[in-house]
Symmetry: C2
Subunit: 295 residues, 2 copies
């Protein structure tokens, strides 16, 4: 292997470098739930920032299993990682992964319930505000909000920000928030509910792109034109959903890759003796498409 | 950190274990293109098999960049990994990642053009055969095939197996293979092409779930009942597509997680001095749903 490494022109020896600095130039990344749609961009962002700093990433997938999570934590500690990033698909605060660790930990997308821990999360309320302001700016006034389950943190945060933003303009939602599921099927069903209620909405802001796609289908099949009759905004800016939607869906992007990158940069700073404490909420971005285009 | 590790009940010291065995109990996983929908299940499968063997995974995302790929390879070699898994989203054979490496390498999903290298790939022709046989078994005879670009390896392999399977039953495709894009938009367009051609098909086998979803939409909006008039089979068994499709889509599952697991097991065997050479193609699985249900 030495020979192959030489032929590839590799000079520095990682083990020697580690002896010299006391660092292993490795970082652990634990996804508390399964690796999936939300953790990939986080991972890509973190991996990019760490790779540029010549730090390698150990990936650990705890699959919603606390025992597996603690097993991985011990494995990472026994490997003398320089730091740990904890990610997961829920934005709700979670218990710290362990107390009294002597390596820095940064939480990405999820946040630690300990306010002294370093967490980087999306500002979901900011995302909802951007969606509502965009609809208001394009002349919509009778706005409905269709979203996920009422017990889900993201659904309640986005719904509350939606109502507050409307109230600040002297408006109410056209109907009470429609809480349901994070699915297209619920979106289709919710379109039926809105039509049956005779709410005469001119815009629907949805808590996810999947829901929005279902709403689009339901409205179109009932003969409503999008955006002519009803403008539509989703949440997530998930490529296959916003492009598969007819018409293409305006959506809110949480910049997951930026969150991953930011978490990695804060971890590298902490490893270098410059830790930042507390929760950082990064702004979202509105990506306008045909579903809210002007007449 | 030692203190924390002790408190967590961790006994073995990875560095000490490494000195003893000459192994680092780490494996590198290089995704040649970006981490995404296809690499996640591969990664989960591999990570599961390796984690159970107490081996940690270094994740490297080469992002379609050969320079980045060689950089990561050197990094992994300098870290004295015990072996390397190379993955990517294309099933077409690729050039070996490097010649003369003194650590084992296994290719997963993608395969190495060197027949002596160890590669684990899905048997896509087997998948196409299962789809066609399922349609024949449910009484369909006028079958069309709508798929991705003609220059794409997966599209041509699946199309060839589709035609061969029909011919073995004395049948031809109802229309020549419709090559296009891996998108819903192409599926909708292809539905129009089929209807305009008056091909009177009673089944469409699609090269991807996204295409199938577009075909379903196009046919439904033209008043054709699925599966009453036309049965539909997709490829990938991608949860959000097969569930979002109306009706729910019968599809072919390549068992990506199984491919990742198998690749990891073969890598562990090679590390333990028992290497397997050559290309292994794992069978696919048909997952029947409403789109091919009997009347």
């Amino acid at each position: 292997m030495r020979e192959a490494a030489d032929r590839l022109g590799f000079v520095a020896n990682a083990a020697a470098r580690s002896l010299h600095s006391g660092r292993t130039y490795t970082v652990g990344m634990i996804t508390t739930d399964s690796i999936g749609r939300f953790s990939i961009p986080l991972l890509i962002g973190a991996e990019g920032a760490l790779g540029a700093g010549q730090v390698s990433v150990f990936l650990c997938d705890a699959r919603d299993d606390p025992i597996r999570e603690q097993y991985y934590l011990r494995t990472l500690l026994s490997r003398n990682v320089d730091g740990i990033i904890v990610t997961g698909r829920r934005t709700q605060a979670r218990a710290p992964i362990a107390a009294g660790l002597h390596v820095p930990v940064v939480y990405a997308f999820i946040s630690s319930a300990d306010p002294h821990d370093c967490s980087v999360v999306p500002d979901e309320a900011d995302g909802a505000r951007r969606a509502v302001r965009h609809l208001l700016a394009t002349g919509r006034r009778r706005i409905a909000h269709v979203t996920g389950p009422e017990h889900h943190h993201s659904a309640t945060v986005r719904a509350a920000a939606t109502e507050q933003t409307l109230r600040a303009e002297g408006l109410d939602l056209a109907t009470p928030v429609l809480f349901g599921q994070w699915s297209e099927a619920w979106g289709r069903q919710a379109a039926g509910v809105l039509l049956a209620a005779g709410a005469d909405v001119d815009a629907v802001f949805c808590g996810s792109d999947q829901i929005a796609r279902g709403v689009a289908e339901g409205l179109r099949e009932a003969g409503r034109a999008i955006p002519g009759d009803v403008a539509l905004v989703g949440f997530d800016n998930w490529d296959i959903m916003v492009e598969g939607c007819r018409p293409a869906l305006t959506s809110i992007d949480m910049d997951l890759e930026g969150i991953g990158r930011s978490a990695a940069e804060l971890l590298l700073a902490a490893i270098n003796g410059d830790p930042v404490r507390g929760r950082r909420a990064l702004p979202c971005r509105l990506v306008p498409r045909a579903s809210t285009a002007a007449g």
